[in-house]
């Protein structure tokens, strides 16, 4: 994985000291909250319902054991012993004191981490495929490109005050595991007819209040022009994005209002202009970055395991994914125990995951946008030992991509923007389906819950989505069906009137029953929905 050079380290260290001074002045009463707020937000420090919340960036979700251990230490020393992994592949701490914030940033800097650009109207943490570098189906490892874009976008003076926040995802396979088309810019590394690698650009996607799927505005940008093209996309947005209206300020609205064709024309014009200016970093820099992402020394070994233990067999079946080397798999550590809080991990669990990564996965971990953790390179020969350790620690839930593997944002239990609680709904749904033993029968069923229209819980992209709304001060939940954030990206549709907390759990079960009744051979929930449409679900839900 990428290691800081002296420039990266110096920049991060300098930012820590700058923030230490800003926090001191705030604590001494020399800065008002109005003056301090933009400064703390630039360092990922929010004020949430119960305390300050710190969001720490995990670039493209990749981290090593030492970093995970540092995250555990922060949870224990400064917070209440746990952290929350987010749908942006980051981690959040919910109980931070302003007095401690600079010390935390200093601790993070020691392990090459920070919280810069995890808030504000700038380019946020760049996300990627959580199986990058391991996936059997990828063209190349997308992370060097994500890292190049991270370096370009960090402290970029022109893009520090964009009309709104800006999110980029980079993938390199046909299968989309990063919700690429639901980003402000989605980049897919592709090859052209001559076999040369390049980048397809999808611009203007997003969830939130106005969900949109990004159109492809250019199918092939040569890799030695990647940054220049991204810069052109940003420049047009920065110039014409709707700064007058927060709700219309994301790039998706600009692309939609101009039309993809006109937006693309303007980008191409800017691109031509920028090419003359030579803003692209030298290709040697990309080559330098690439060396950090070289394959570890994979060894040949057994290609199968003894599955006589049914619990182990189920976990292997559910939570391991084919690797590009046939003696390895990627193993998913579920942070979704039945009735648990999706994405939460205790300091102790983080330390265990760090140990296991060092022992079994070339010291690498990944945070999935689905709020689980991946050990990307596990020898098949080590799988039983790994599973035993996870199972003993309560981290062995065999539920990847099932109805128990729910994405849920913090919702009204923590978030000041929330309308309704998300986590209790997730807990009750996973408990209900686990108790009835129906999880396996339902197969792949992606359920996603947001506590408000901002859609951090990706409800628009759930096979089943749930959106919490405020109905005259009472929590209410809308049910949505038919979304997908994979390569067959689709936006879910609302079924009809919302439900209360008990009602929404029943409604999900009703939708699942319609699926089981109507499905044909090999169909997932989403396939059945697409074939039969909304009507049978509505009839079952509302009579």
């Amino acid at each position: 994985m990428y290691l800081y050079d002296q420039y990266d380290q110096a920049m991060v260290d300098a930012r820590v000291e700058e923030f230490r001074d800003q926090a001191r002045r705030r604590l001494e009463g020399k800065l008002s909250e109005d003056q301090f707020k933009p400064l703390r937000l630039m360092n990922g420090l929010y004020l949430q319902l119960h305390a300050y919340m710190l969001r720490v960036a995990i670039p493209y979700g990749t981290l090593n054991g030492r970093q995970m251990r540092a995250l555990a230490d922060i949870a224990e020393t400064y917070d209440r012993g746990y952290g929350h992994f987010t749908t942006r592949q980051n981690i959040q701490y919910n109980w931070i004191k302003l007095e401690d914030a600079a010390d935390i940033l200093a601790d993070l800097a020691e392990v090459e981490m920070h919280a810069i650009q995890t808030s504000g109207n700038c380019i946020r943490n760049i996300s990627s495929d959580h199986f990058a570098g391991a996936a059997a189906d990828e063209l190349v490892d997308p992370r060097p490109y994500a890292e190049l874009l991270r370096q370009w976008s960090s402290f970029h003076p022109e893009f520090s005050y964009l009309p709104r926040k800006f999110k980029i995802a980079v993938i390199a396979s046909e299968t989309d595991r990063a919700a690429m088309k639901l980003h402000d810019i989605g980049i897919r590394i592709v090859s052209n007819s001559e076999g040369e690698p390049g980048a397809a650009f999808y611009v203007g996607g997003g969830m939130g209040r106005t969900p949109m799927i990004a159109p492809c505005i250019r199918e092939f940008v040569p890799l030695d022009r990647l940054v220049t093209y991204a810069e052109a996309c940003l420049r047009v947005y920065n110039r014409y994005g709707r700064r007058d209206n927060k709700y219309k300020a994301r790039i998706k609205i600009l692309v939609h209002e101009l039309g993809a064709e006109e937006y693309t024309r303007q980008v191409e014009e800017e691109f031509a202009h920028l090419l003359e200016q030579g803003v692209e970093p030298p290709i040697a820099e990309l080559d330098r970055i690439r060396t950090y992402f070289a394959d570890p020394d994979f060894e040949d070994g057994p290609k199968s395991v003894d599955r006589s233990d049914p619990d182990f067999a189920l976990w292997v079946e559910r939570n391991t994914v084919r690797h590009k080397h046939d003696a390895y798999v990627s193993a998913v550590i579920s942070l979704k125990p039945v009735g648990g809080i999706p994405g939460d991990a205790s300091a102790e669990q983080m330390r265990l995951m760090a140990d296991l990564a060092e022992r079994y996965s070339f010291d690498e971990l990944r945070v999935m946008h689905t709020q689980n953790i991946v050990l990307p390179h596990v020898r098949i020969a080590d799988l039983h030992a790994l599973w035993s350790a996870l199972d003993e620690a309560g981290l062995g839930a065999p539920n990847l991509d099932t109805i128990e593997d729910i994405i849920a944002c913090p919702g009204l239990d923590y978030c000041s923007l929330a309308n309704a609680r998300s986590i209790p709904v997730a807990q009750r749904i996973s408990e209900r389906f686990a108790a009835k033993g129906r999880t396996a029968e339902l197969g792949e069923l992606k359920l996603k819950i947001s506590g408000c229209i901002n859609a951090c819980g990706h409800h628009h992209a759930g096979h089943i989505g749930i959106l919490g709304v405020d109905r005259k001060g009472v929590e209410n939940y809308q049910l949505l069906l038919g979304g997908s954030e994979a390569q067959d990206t689709a936006l879910a549709k609302i079924t009809g009137p919302g439900f209360d907390e008990d009602g929404i759990v029943d409604a999900v079960e009703t939708a699942a029953e319609v699926y089981l009744r109507e499905r044909e051979d090999g169909e997932r929930f989403l396939d059945t929905y697409r074939r039969i449409g909304m009507t049978p679900f509505k009839e079952a839900l509302y009579g």
């Binding site: 009463g29 949430q48 319902l49 807990q427 009472v474 907390e501």
Partner: protein
């Protein structure tokens, strides 16, 4: 009644205006009545509490209950982690929020 709330500057903890100071217990909150905005402005200027603001609440049997669920969650703590709330041993605390 109108009560004042905010977050403590140093710790971020949810606090309630008691008439003379700030408390982490909502039951200590007093009716700020017509003074709410003046007190909020004064306390904001004193820079002890972040963005104090007034909310509607009622006092029932000596206990204060904010009108909106969001403020009741703030008053108690996360309903999904009773151990981290101000009333970890009270089995009915969650029901009070909802």
């Amino acid at each position: 009644m109108k009560i004042l709330t905010g977050n403590d500057l140093k710790t971020g903890a949810v606090v309630w205006w008691t008439g003379v100071d700030w408390s982490i217990h909502v039951d200590d909150a007093v009716d700020a009545g017509g003074e709410a905005d003046t007190v909020a402005a004064r306390e904001e200027a004193a820079r002890r509490v972040n963005v104090p603001y007034a909310i509607e609440a009622e006092r029932i049997d000596g206990k204060v209950r904010p009108a909106h669920i969001k403020d009741r969650v703030r008053a108690l703590g996360p309903t999904v982690r009773p151990d981290l709330t101000l009333k970890p041993a009270d089995p009915d605390a969650r029901d009070w929020v909802i």
